[in-house]
């Protein structure tokens, strides 16, 4: 597939970094604002789709490969399942970093003020870590779908 015109390529080069920053913001603030791993991962995958569509598959092969995207996906799933397994001393999917958990680990475990508040990034227990894991998985999965289907169109 040929690349698109120079205007589209320049604008997509500019927008790429802003879309990436917005996606990382949504993933990191998943426990405070609307959003989370799935939505942020979809935003990040849209950045990959923008580069692939604007520059053509030949140029995009230099940045992404099918192997890197699918291994991103597998890594995210393995991280998610291992985070779930780390709480196995109580139950599967136990939130072992939450404020009330007994072996107190001071990561993401500040107790937030009850009721409406301004939001503190250092709360949420295991939820921000799971958000990151799912974000890695979704960016790999949707990016691999776009990449493979775009490449499959050509002979």
């Amino acid at each position: 597939m040929m690349a698109m015109s120079k205007i589209v390529r320049t604008v997509s080069n500019l927008l790429y970094f802003f879309i990436l920053i917005f996606g990382f913001y949504i993933v990191m603030h998943g426990h405070l604002t609307p959003g989370g791993g799935f939505q942020g991962g979809a935003v990040l995958a849209s950045a990959i789709a923008l580069i692939i569509v604007a520059h053509g598959i030949e140029k995009a092969k230099k940045f992404y490969s099918e192997f890197s995207l699918t291994s991103c996906e597998s890594l995210g799933l393995v991280l998610f399942i291992s985070l779930a397994f780390l709480g196995i001393f109580m139950t599967f999917f136990y939130n072992f970093l939450s404020p009330g958990a007994q072996p107190a680990i001071p990561i993401f475990s500040t107790e937030p003020p009850l009721g409406p508040n301004l939001g503190n990034l250092n709360t949420g227990g295991v939820i921000p870590l799971m958000n990151i894991a799912v974000g890695i998985e979704v960016i790999g999965g949707l990016g691999a779908i776009v990449y493979v289907m775009f490449r499959g169109g050509k002979k």
Binding site: L32, A42, G115, P116, G119, M149, G152
Partner: protein, 122 residues
């Protein structure tokens, strides 16, 4: 007057009927996939409309416009929203899967008409 109050549910019924019409009477495989997606969107709309409370805000406490000790009735139900989040991602994944099969059928038979592709043998 119940017709007006239940307007979102009636829209859901109309959308599901439209999607099933597309899936039953269209012969183009792409149009069948579009019908499936319409049904899926209708189900998502149904779940979201099911959990709505009149005059309530989103169930997020960051800068929430409710009072400090507000009762739980001032926020909409969070569980249908979580289920909808699940359904959207699964819908995207299955749509990609179905469309890749349609591409393979088009390459193999040279047509994506369901009735013609069924008669031809590989």
């Amino acid at each position: 007057m119940n017709y007006l109050y239940n307007f979102p549910f009636i829209v859901v019924a109309i959308l599901i009927a439209m999607g099933f019409y597309a899936m039953m009477f269209k012969r183009n495989l792409i149009k069948i996939v579009i019908g499936l997606n319409i049904v899926e969107s209708a189900v998502n709309l149904f779940l979201i409309a099911l959990g709505y409370r009149k005059g309530a805000v989103a169930p997020i406490y960051t800068n929430a416009p409710v009072a400090k000790g507000a009762p739980a009735h001032s926020m909409v139900l969070p569980t249908p929203q979580a289920l909808t989040l699940t359904a959207i991602v699964i819908g995207v994944a299955t749509t990609a899967m179905i469309l890749s099969f349609v591409v393979q059928i088009g390459k193999h038979y040279g047509t994506i008409d369901a009735k013609k592709a069924r008669r031809l043998k590989g």
